[in-house]
Amino acid sequence: MSRGKSDVLQGTLDLLILRTLALESLHGWGISKRIRELSGDVLEVNQGSLYPALYRLRDRGLIRSRWEVSEDDRRVKIYELTKAGSEALVVERDRWRVFAGAMERVLGTA
């Protein structure tokens, strides 16, 4: 796996995670399921790569984690957005929109 490609994917994945956690705090599997649902199963997140991304976001202070007892009575690690995370989401979303708009224009005129 070359580094350059994963960087692009990484940024996108980070944005998806932040967006998901903006709706509600979730555990890892919940996040991957929610992303699939929200995107109408278009975005298939490589589930394994979710975890490095979560740890990275936590390390940057955008999300935080805590252990909770889940609905099925098991210990799970719940992730939630921090204040810095909410701010980052706004910035990242705007950046994405600019990017997507630009892509659209380029592709549209072709």
């Binding site: 555990h27 890892g28 599997w29 991957s32 399921k33 490589n46 589930q47 394994g48 790569s49 975890y51 490095p52 740890y55 990275r56 390390d59 202070g61 098991r74 210990r75 799970v76 690690k77 810095a84």
Partner: protein, 881 residues
């Protein structure tokens, strides 16, 4: 800020509660998978399928964990610990391999550290003076010469006119006899002016330094004692200030004791305790032609050596005009004090450091070769680790850890070696090298060794690591452990390594052989007849200040008479100077030459000698006769010249009966030649033969005296009798030094012998390394090509052919290396030449000899692998497939 703390906490958690962090990660992922499987089951999959799909969707669990660990931080330390464990286990498993590498590196690092610490202590460490770079010496040589001291009137004129110095003063070394309260002892004294101590920034630990008035006062009798003398002679007596001591049997009052860290510049190399007495220009020789004052000065802030020299030269030019008889063509020379004190030790030590650097380089390439050969067997292991998710960086790091650990262990052993070596060095050269008595391993030397170890670790680690970590997974598994395929790059690297080793070793071996030859050339002299039979002992003439000079020196005559009557003594002579350490110099006109201040006549060594001196020390008489007591008679001064002087002054003529005179308008010396003697070197073992004139004891007065006694048996057995005779004549007179003439030649060669031994030792180390390296690489290649060799033998290759194949490979490498080394020898010829005597740096005999020798080394190093190749059984090879 709080987030920063949290991150720190996570890092620490990973470090110290790793199990917990790992367990949590495990739990998290397990939960994920279970939920996914449940979901799949609900979607109607079979349990098996549900599990399989969940795992597939997740991707590699181990890989994910690795990635998380990377992100989580603390990774470096974690990996490092793992690498360390892994490395140490690996090294312990192969004790032979490990010790070879450690010893190789320890030799390289140890040698470098030892030489570096000598270099640092002798050359690099600053002088014990404030702002030492502003300290300079001043000399007034004639054009074309150097290092001529000043005369008193010249000094006063320079001091008057120059603006360049913050403080400067003059001094003259004077060995004196210290007597009175204890055994008479010869001690180095320094006569100096008060300004000189100010320039050097000397501090008195007790009492005071000299005052300006004191050094102008001809009857001042104050003396400052060095810390060393205070301790050794006066038992560190705190009451010494104000006490009277006897110097040359005159009473002096101790006014001060120097602080222990102050050393007078010339004490640096003498490592002898001494003392300071005021130099009063009023009572000193006041002739403008008497050059005996040395100058040390502290330049004013911002004044460069060049500017000071320019200014002094302007003054020198005015003096030349005013006093043409003495000062014509006389210039000023300003030399940094550092250069004077260190002499030529500096460059020689740098050369030695270069040589040890070469040895280290050879050691490094050797270790790199060993590691690479071993790593070739690890292709499969690496491939397994890579397929388990270890990235290339990770593998690289692991291998570098390995080489660094080995290097650090080697470095530690090397440091111990260096410490031991420096101890040895200190014993071999007491005081011969400046400041060698101050040698020690300090923090910086330890840092140097550690830095060296790290550097070498990376240097020899990086290439094997790169070639090994770039594993081609499929290739490695397909070929498996069956054939240890050397990659093309690996073979090429090993070849280049051997070539480089041969090149470096060639240069070293050639230089070492040349130096051995030089040492032999310099010491194996037949200048003196049976020098082992000659006892030499020195004393200082007991003349006291103000006493009238009586000639012939009655003391010399009395002493000679007494010594001649000793049993077992064949002949006795007394002189002011000895061969190799010799003579004051003067300008002399030979008969046929006229006085002309425009012409440079060069200098002649002047030595005062008693009758019997030539016979006693063993200098052959060629023509005429020895000196006689009558030669000192007024108007009939007779001298003996050496062959060199005779040949250059009167080629083809009989020199006996020719006249000579001092090269000045009103000559202080006029004499007739009564004899010619054989040449001996005057200024050390490496000097050319220079012209010498031997004259009877005659002014200017020289206080040093050397007795030479030719003995019928063991010369050292004469020493007690000699001491008795001297004590009967003068109980206050100590002997300065006692040795045989043969020992004198040995003594003068100490430094050369040491350098030669060191370079020889390093060349030997290099040779054994290159032999080991060649053996290792060739053996490795034979092992790799076992299959190919087997096939060749099966196809009918002869034994000779197989041997030729193996030897051919190593010979090709060796010859290439020698060719490169030949180039290196040409490049290094200037440096090597500076170490040689009596032989050129590019002597073809030595070049050819070194080349042949290295070919021999290459052949013998690859003989065993070649034999192994011959013994390859093709059937066995095929079966092993």
């Amino acid at each position: 800020m709080s987030h920063w703390f949290k991150r720190l906490y996570w890092r620490l958690e990973v470090l110290f509660r790793k199990e917990r962090a790992e367990a949590e990660l495990d739990e998290e992922i397990r939960y994920h998978l279970e939920r996914e499987i449940e979901a799949n089951l609900r979607a109607g999959m079979s349990p098996e399928e549900a599990r399989r799909v969940a795992m597939a969707d997740f991707g590699g669990v181990e890989r994910t964990k690795e990635q998380v660990r990377d992100v989580r931080g603390g990774r470096m330390v974690d990996d490092l610990l793992q690498d360390l464990r892994y490395t140490i286990r690996g090294l312990i498993k192969r004790p032979g391999f490990t010790s070879v590498i450690v010893i190789t590196l320890a030799l390289g690092i140890g040698a470098n550290t030892a030489i570096y610490s000598v270099l640092r202590n002798v050359v690099l460490r600053p002088f014990p003076y404030a702002e030492p770079d502003r300290l300079v010496t001043v000399w007034t040589p004639q054009i074309g010469y150097s290092y001529n001291p000043l005369s008193a009137p010249d000094w006063l004129d320079f001091r008057e006119a120059s603006e360049s110095f913050e403080a400067w003063g003059v001094y003259a070394m004077e060995a004196v006899n210290l007597s009175g309260d204890a055994m008479p002892e010869r001690v180095m004294g320094v006569r100096l002016t008060a300004d000189l101590l100010r320039a050097l920034g000397a501090v008195a630990a007790r009492g005071r330094l000299f005052t300006e008035e004191e050094t102008e006062d001809p009857v001042a009798r104050g003396v400052i004692v060095s810390d060393g003398l205070w301790r050794s002679r006066f038992g560190a007596d705190p009451e010494l200030i104000g006490r009277e001591i006897l110097i040359n049997r005159e009473s002096w009052t101790v006014v001060g004791i120097l602080s222990s860290d102050f050393r007078f510049p010339e004490w640096e190399s003498l490592a002898e305790p001494g003392f300071l007495i005021p130099l009063s220009l009023g009572v000193q020789v006041a002739e403008r032609g008497a050059y005996y004052l040395k100058v040390i000065g502290r330049l004013r802030e911002g004044v460069s050596v060049e500017r000071a020299e320019e200014e002094l030269n302007a003054i020198a030019a005015r003096l030349a005009e005013a006093y043409p008889e003495t000062n014509d063509r006389r210039i000023a020379q300003v030399v940094p004090l550092r250069n004077i004190v260190l002499g030529d030790s500096g460059p020689r030590l740098w050369i030695l450091l270069g040589v040890t650097g070469m040895v280290l380089l050879i050691a490094c390439t050797n270790v790199a070769g060993l590691l690479m050969a071993r790593n070739a067997g690890r292709n499969v292991e690496m491939a397994v680790r890579a397929s388990m998710g270890a990235g290339r960086r990770r593998l690289l790091r692991q291998m570098l850890t390995e080489s660094l650990v080995v290097a650090l262990v080697g470095g530690t052993v090397g440091l111990v070696l260096a410490w031991w070596g420096i101890g040895m060095l200190g014993e071999v050269v007491p005081g011969n090298l400046p400041r060698v008595d101050q040698l020690r391993i300090d923090t910086l030397v330890v840092l140097f060794a550690s830095g060296l170890a790290l550097f070498t670790g990376v240097l020899f680690g990086i290439f094997p690591a790169l070639t090994t970590s770039a594993v081609d997974l499929t290739g490695a598994f397909r070929e498996g452990a069956r054939t240890l395929t050397a990659g093309r790059s690996r073979t090429r690297f090993l070849g280049a390594m051997i070539i480089a080793q041969f090149a470096l070793t060639f240069v070293l071996a050639d230089a070492a052989a040349l130096m051995l030859r030089s040492l032999w050339q310099a010491t194996n002299s037949r200048e003196l007849h049976e020098p082992g039979q000659v006892l030499i002992a020195g004393y200082l003439s007991p003349r006291e200040r103000g006493e009238e000079i009586i000639l012939p020196d009655p003391f010399v005559e009395q002493l000679r008479e007494r010594l001649r009557s000793l049993p077992g003594v064949e002949s006795v002579g007394i002189s002011t100077h000895l061969p190799l350490i010799g003579g004051w110099t003067a300008g002399i006109l030979a008969e046929g030459q006229d006085y002309d201040p425009e012409i440079d006549r060069g200098y002649v060594h002047m030595v005062c000698a008693s009758p019997g001196y030539f016979d006693a020390i063993g200098i052959g008489l060629l023509r005429g006769r020895d000196l006689w007591p009558e030669d000192l008679e007024e108007g009939h001064l007779g001298v003996v010249v050496n062959r060199r002087f005779a040949e250059q002054s009167w080629p083809g003529q009989n020199p006996v009966g020719k006249r000579i005179r001092a090269n000045s308008a009103t000559p202080w010396l006029e004499a007739v030649v009564v004899g010619v003697v054989e040449d001996v070197r005057q200024s050390g073992l490496e000097s050319r033969i220079e012209p010498v004139i031997y004259l009877p004891f005659f002014p200017p007065f020289m206080p040093t005296r050397w007795m030479a006694l030719r003995s019928e048996s063991e010369p050292m057995a004469l020493v007690p009798a000699l001491r008795r005779q001297l004590a009967e004549l003068d109980p206050h007179l100590p002997l300065t030094r006692v040795f045989t003439a043969a020992q004198l030649y040995d003594l003068m060669a100490t430094e050369r012998r040491l350098t030669t031994q060191l370079i020889g030792l390093f060349a030997l180390v290099a040779l054994s390394l290159v032999a080991a390296g060649t053996y290792g690489v060739i053996a490795f290649q034979v092992r790799q090509r076992t299959h190919e060799m087997g096939v060749r033998v099966a196809l009918g290759a002869s034994r000779g052919g197989v041997v030729g194949l193996v030897l051919g490979r190593s010979l090709r490498l060796a010859l290439l290396g020698i060719a490169v080394g030949l180039l290196g020898a040409f490049v290094a010829s200037d440096v090597v030449g500076s170490l040689l005597y009596g032989v050129g740096p590019l002597d073809p005999a030595f070049l050819v000899g070194a080349a042949l020798f290295l070919v021999l080394v290459a052949v013998s190093a690859s003989a065993v692998p070649a034999l192994r190749a011959v013994r390859i059984d093709p059937v066995e090879v095929m079966r092993a497939e």
